[in-house]
């Protein structure tokens, strides 16, 4: 596990991550050198309403993505499957190295948020998650990155 968590390429600095995020419309990113906080407004499809999103990222750690407004909703008393804990969106499989700290958030995590939201909205409507995905065989808490 440990080897998979650390990339071979050099990590992208928080300042560069913030700069790339600020280049997107509807997003702002600020870094104090230790933690990057990015806020954005995402409309996953032309028919969807906008979601206010917050990403919190500490270098080399898992970027934490949450819905601020409207908040995550349940369907028939259940939360969507692909979450870390109760509110963090699960956007990638850590083992498959789909995201590593040498990758730019604005080109990976942020487009994946749109995809996750489109799946989530369809799930809210129909009860079916059509995005596929993997459920970890971990007891108790959700996945460990």
């Amino acid at each position: 596990m440990a080897r998979n968590r650390f990339p071979s390429g050099a990590p992208v600095s928080l300042a560069l991550q913030a700069a790339r995020i600020n280049a997107l419309s509807n997003w702002t990113g600020r870094s104090d050198g230790r933690v990057l906080v990015a806020k954005g407004k995402v409309q996953p499809t032309e028919l969807s309403g906008p979601y206010n999103i917050r990403i919190t990222y500490r270098l080399k750690q898992r970027p934490a993505v949450i819905l601020v407004d409207p908040p995550l909703q349940q369907r028939d008393g259940k939360w969507p499957d692909h979450l870390y804990g109760k509110e963090e969106l699960c956007l990638y499989h850590p083992k498959y190295r789909e995201w590593t700290p040498d990758r730019v958030l604005s080109e990976t995590i942020i487009p994946w948020i749109s995809e996750w939201l489109a799946c989530y909205e369809t799930w809210l409507i129909t009860g079916d998650w059509l995005g596929g995905g993997v459920h970890p065989r971990v007891k108790g808490r959700g996945g460990q990155p």
Partner: protein, 372 residues
């Protein structure tokens, strides 16, 4: 005021997916085709074929606007059996001649029903085929025909023109299907929703909305009226959204009408298709439905780009939940297919686009343990 520019391309696509979910499915279409061909072959082998004979589809099946009935009802597919009889017959004699030939064939035993003005072949739980006998209407010429119609227990001739109507509708939709004169015609192939004209799809959605809103079949306005009004209002539309907006605007003229207007068959001006409106309660229900359709459509336009789940609820109320949910799943499946082939990209504002992005989203796998 509703304008066409209010309708987003995604809404247009979603409405087309709903229409695909409510039309005759390809499996039933195939069965209908086989049974139509078998019936035609049989009729051509009978005494009836001493006269020039033509069997052809009419109505929604012919013009590509079928709508799945609500639960408990079957698809109704309409056919005309036209016999070019040399001498005058009465409508009763014509019905009797066709009935006795169909009845003679053991294959149809137990599944035929003699209706007042047609012969119904019932294929349990799937659909029924209504065969209407007809003779050429020599007074009106062309493709005009006379069919038997029940008038207080007596069969009388009723002048109509199913092929002329189809040709008129197709000219409005700017799509023509090949037709042959006085011969057994091949059925039109089912048209995938994506290839339908905005007019065809708008007719399907209008009819479905009317069926859902007016639960009592007897209070519904005839499909041919809804189809005619849509074609008159929306024939020139380039998109489905524009077709629906034009229809809704045009229907405003009925909202305050006290007296039912007379709607005639555009291909047979001697045929009044709105005759059911003589019963004022049916016209009043139609008028109320017109207002409901306009309000529903305005609400749909307001919800797009604001609240996807609320839009789904509204559309479910309008067209029924099962087809609407299947359509929303189909829309998501299209995005997933694009994602799998590297054709899904994030555009401005986070909006996902298929095929048009300059840079496809990288691959990823949803992970996580779900609710705790």
């Amino acid at each position: 005021m509703v304008t066409a520019t209010d309708v987003s391309a995604d809404l247009d696509a979603l409405l087309a997916l709903i229409a695909e979910e409510i039309q005759l499915p390809p499996s039933l279409d195939e069965k209908a085709r086989e049974r139509y061909e078998a019936l035609t072959e049989y009729l051509e082998s009978t005494e009836l074929a001493r006269f020039p004979i033509a069997v052809y589809a009419q109505g929604s099946y012919r013009i590509g606007t079928t709508v799945k009935p609500l639960s408990g009802e079957e698809f109704d597919l309409d056919f005309v059996l036209e016999l070019a009889l040399p001498t005058l017959v009465t409508p009763g004699q014509l019905m009797e001649a066709v009935w006795s030939e169909i009845q003679r064939n053991g294959r149809y035993a137990g599944m035929i029903e003699r209706r007042p003005s047609c012969i119904r072949l019932i294929y349990a739980d799937e659909f029924h085929m209504d065969v209407v006998p007809a003779v050429p209407d020599r007074d009106h010429g062309g493709t005009a025909v006379l069919i038997p119609r029940d008038s207080r227990g007596v069969l009388v001739w009723h002048g109509t023109n199913p092929r002329g109507y189809a040709a008129w509708f197709e000219s409005k939709a700017e799509r023509r299907m090949p037709t042959k004169e006085m011969a057994v015609e091949p059925l039109p192939r089912p048209i995938p929703a994506a290839e339908k004209t905005p007019l065809q799809t708008a007719v399907q959605l209008y009819k479905r909305h009317h069926h859902v809103a007016v639960a009592d079949e007897h209070l519904r306005t005839a499909s041919v009226v809804l189809t005619t009004l849509t074609a008159q209002a929306s024939g020139a539309a380039r998109t489905l959204g524009e077709a629906l907006s034009l229809l809704v605007e045009d229907l405003r003229r009925f909202e305050k009408a006290e007296v039912p207007p007379v709607i005639t068959n555009p291909a047979a001006s001697h045929e009044v298709v709105s005759d059911k409106w003589a019963d004022l309660s049916i016209f009043r229900v139609f008028r109320q439905h017109t207002v409901k359709l306009r309000r529903d459509w305005e609400e749909v336009l307001q919800l797009q780009g604001r609240d996807y789940p609320a839009l789904a609820r509204k559309l479910s109320e309008m067209f029924g939940e099962p087809p609407v949910h299947r359509a929303f799943k189909a829309a998501e499946s299209q995005r997933q297919a694009a994602r799998a082939t590297g054709l899904l990209a994030m555009g401005s504002g986070g909006i996902l686009q298929i095929g048009s992005g300059t840079r496809p989203n990288p691959r990823h796998t949803y992970f996580g343990g779900g609710s705790e």
